[in-house]
Symmetry: D2
Subunit: 342 residues, 4 copies
Amino acid sequence: MIKAGIVGGTGYTGVELLRLLCMHPQVELSVITSRGEAGKAVADLYPNLRGKVDLVFTEPDLVSLSSCDVVFFATPNGTAMQTTPALLDAGVRVIDLAADFRIKDVAEWEQWYGMTHACPDLLDEAVYGLPEVNRELIRNARLLANPGCYPTAVLLGFLPLIETGLVDSDNLIADCKSGVSGAGRSANVGALLCETSESFKAYAVPGHRHLPEIRQGLETAVGMPVGLTFVPHLVPMIRGIHATLYANQVKPQDLQALYQERYADEPFVDVLDSGSHPETRSVKGSNYCRIALHKPQGRDTIVILSVIDNLVKGAAGQAVHNMNLMFGLDETQGIDAVALMP
Amino acid sequence: MIKAGIVGGTGYTGVELLRLLCMHPQVELSVITSRGEAGKAVADLYPNLRGKVDLVFTEPDLVSLSSCDVVFFATPNGTAMQTTPALLDAGVRVIDLAADFRIKDVAEWEQWYGMTHACPDLLDEAVYGLPEVNRELIRNARLLANPGCYPTAVLLGFLPLIETGLVDSDNLIADCKSGVSGAGRSANVGALLCETSESFKAYAVPGHRHLPEIRQGLETAVGMPVGLTFVPHLVPMIRGIHATLYANQVKPQDLQALYQERYADEPFVDVLDSGSHPETRSVKGSNYCRIALHKPQGRDTIVILSVIDNLVKGAAGQAVHNMNLMFGLDETQGIDAVALMP
Amino acid sequence: MIKAGIVGGTGYTGVELLRLLCMHPQVELSVITSRGEAGKAVADLYPNLRGKVDLVFTEPDLVSLSSCDVVFFATPNGTAMQTTPALLDAGVRVIDLAADFRIKDVAEWEQWYGMTHACPDLLDEAVYGLPEVNRELIRNARLLANPGCYPTAVLLGFLPLIETGLVDSDNLIADCKSGVSGAGRSANVGALLCETSESFKAYAVPGHRHLPEIRQGLETAVGMPVGLTFVPHLVPMIRGIHATLYANQVKPQDLQALYQERYADEPFVDVLDSGSHPETRSVKGSNYCRIALHKPQGRDTIVILSVIDNLVKGAAGQAVHNMNLMFGLDETQGIDAVALMP
Amino acid sequence: MIKAGIVGGTGYTGVELLRLLCMHPQVELSVITSRGEAGKAVADLYPNLRGKVDLVFTEPDLVSLSSCDVVFFATPNGTAMQTTPALLDAGVRVIDLAADFRIKDVAEWEQWYGMTHACPDLLDEAVYGLPEVNRELIRNARLLANPGCYPTAVLLGFLPLIETGLVDSDNLIADCKSGVSGAGRSANVGALLCETSESFKAYAVPGHRHLPEIRQGLETAVGMPVGLTFVPHLVPMIRGIHATLYANQVKPQDLQALYQERYADEPFVDVLDSGSHPETRSVKGSNYCRIALHKPQGRDTIVILSVIDNLVKGAAGQAVHNMNLMFGLDETQGIDAVALMP
């Protein structure tokens, strides 16, 4: 059994991690910390865990965390980087669900996240945990940067095109739509039901923190700078991301075959038949990414539709996937549930 | 492995049964029939099942169904009773998720359901599949009548009071609220998003088919006629039932202790601390019923709050629970998932 | 033109009041104050008012408020009572949309609201602004206590029964359901979309502040103490209250005729045909209360269904109705819009 | 008073038209027809109209319609063209809210709509009723083709760029999102709450009927063929369209000034401050289109955000606007209501 610790398990990413880990046959939940809720039973905050998780939130504490095999950070940005060096020194493997170790260029990270990085020397070692790209590196990672939700949906959608140079990579558009759980579980007027329900809007069009992360992923794949316009929107629903991706094809190729081949061995990427329209509910509560390809009206513009559950494949599920890889378990263990539909 | 067949698996109860059975370690899905969708892959109708269920809907056919160990009917009322006698004769055990075998009084059934019963002689043998009441009978049942969603929530909420004669059973009120999935997956203007979202209403106040079923369950428990007012309402959400139950206490008793004792050994009934307010989302996608008790303002009126997921504990999950009991499996196998929250 | 001021117009009651008053042909919006948003244009906070309201929020200021004919308080409980005496002295008429002047018994008010009342001497003079009960008093009121949302829906539903002594008033049940806007526009985890959407729950069952207000309204009508159980629930929608009311009939009477007669001259109470099921959406954005009556299954239990929009008839619309009465205008002016459906 | 008739008023466009016309000070609703609901009171189908509209649906009948000054068709495509010639001959002015007269090229219309046009000779005369483009033509129109919902949002967003040749018109993208009311009020599994709520998807990516209509509007403005990719999506809400438009700037210009100037005199187009993010709820129930402009990250890609209420500015409200123009009334009469927010 793998002893797992969670730092900061009170948000939506945290409870989702708890939901997955408490059912995982190879994991023993050992400690969960929260400054704000220390002393409170986890199941009092999240009654869906009654009878499944009998842990109590404790104050963050290096000693108890150091006794774990793996520690997950489900914390705000800037927290994991404070404790990670000590945990690594203690032989603990670290999976950060926040953004502390996602961006290789420390200057760019500091600019977008508005703080000084506490351990820039670890950025090189940190592995970007998108299994469909870095599976082998992940197996041996000590420090894993779990991808953001938008980057997961967008990269899986664009990668086959970019890797093969099929499209004009200077003119990519990612029009993305996310459920409200992406905003987290903090007291925030903008995420109230009465502010978000029965409405739809774009946000952060001038610049969103996932932009440099997506760009880095694309540029790593293509080996040169790319031009990307990224527009996120808020959908009046709890879970789900739908990325609608646009690119201009510059070389002929059978796209459907390309995608099916690229993802043939991927347990969590499902390429739908050509002409399909994936729904976010088809992945609700599951770790799958479903993708469909279109070339409307015979034009050169390729349209890719990519859907994930932002809390699973876009966060906690992908973190467990990475843990499975890091500890040599069956990749799909604990995360092969069927989506809840309807 | 238990060979399972499903008749009529295109509705919401059907897909939920598929979701649960395809992950059940002791079940092999063997056949699924649908007159309307014969020839279509199940996963084409329900893409959440892609890669999990590779069955194709077939025309209903007694031969293939007779080769199963158990057949589930996820059909409209009046269908199961047509084929059940032949299946029982063939040694197949039958679980009906519709109402054909729930009411013992055939005249009452025929009045509420507006048709003639095809095999009234089986009504006596049919076991009402509420495990918290009939566990031993269920173990040996050939023919199981799976309870309705409202009756499940209401009976589990009222039973401890009724069984002990603590309340005036001539004056019971069940004010119930259901998500829209209770209306099924048929083309029905009244269940459109634009008709049900951002609105709330009561329906069927003069009389709902679950009224005689609830009354029968209460009267069996108390051994005499009861007076019940049952008012169902439609909630703008997909899943969940919340029953708010009112009864006047006529004998003193520690209610909290009573309920905790009554359900101490029940794996799927969770009595919350006194004063709690269970949310339907705390059971979303799970087989649990959560109950809380109140006596507001020191009055004699007891208020019981009882929540279930209508598609799981109120339908498919309870059916699998019954199958587990009928085949001597661990009761909770395949239905012990944590609710999806948020 | 009536010069109107609003104190605290940043919440949902405030913006609804702005929506109604800015279209009212006899009103000139003169001043709107908000400590938190002073200096900000109203239309920057509420873009639906762009081009309609060009006011800027100002610091609360007795001088500018004193120049108004009427001042509305759309503030938290406990605010209006601080300034009301000075405004009345200055000849301004005051309409409080909060609870400061609703309860006649100051001790009961102080117990439920947890503070000392600042001007208990005004409680006698304050008129409870339910036009269907107090129309004549309202016309001459200097100080108007606008009713709460639940009390409006429940009182209009129960009054004809109570006033005529038709029911056992010692055993009344009000099972009420409200949209989330009733929780206001404050940063509150419990009102996030991800906490309230796709879920349903009861809350405050041990005791809700609207209980003494409803009880007072009923007791005034019947002239003696009543026994009331009040259970509020939260519905995953923005607007609307649905009250499901239960009472045991003790004297024979044609209920439908009784209600139609009682409300025959009321412009905003609509008694539906017997057997109807009013939907909250049928009053969304409008000032109507729609009521339907049932006596299910021939039992003695009367079931009354009463729906309002909590922000209109349950708050801002009723406040404008009261203003119309206080200033001798046509009662329905500015509040006769048709509900938005769908 | 203008005598108005409505053909086919049972859908969402029809009831919205009723809501607006019954409050319009210059309109007398004279007749409303519906084959399916003939004999039923309008207010029985739409209880929000109780006390406001006392008409009864009648069978379509040329005589009664011919007595009107204007007839609105709120019918499925292909209906208006059957009766329009006779009505025009009778001196009645016709406003078609469906697509029969929107496309000038009859062959293209017949291909997209899959039927033969009944009166292609009227296509030239029909005026495309986008007041921001065709105001003067509309004033004198006998036959008005009311624009589609997506075309309204997209054209208002793109027009200033296209008219001035500022962008590469061969590479335009319209990523559009619509509430479910766009699917109408027919019994359609795909529009059930349980199929659309808590989910997001694209649809009709290979080709949607609004594509040729948008293309025609753009090509008319620019005077040459344009290249457009149009991807519609379904949002889990009732009302609202959000168009996210992408175009590559090829000539320098102050965009904000351009839009403000273009729409300076338009009563229903509101250009927000640069950098804003309009929400669909800011126009819910109102006839406004709100637009904001972005050039993210200093790239050449312009991003335009345009929101409308699909049932008002995208259908019934625009139809009333056109009627106002056709009959010489104040343009904004009856359609200047403030959006319902929240």
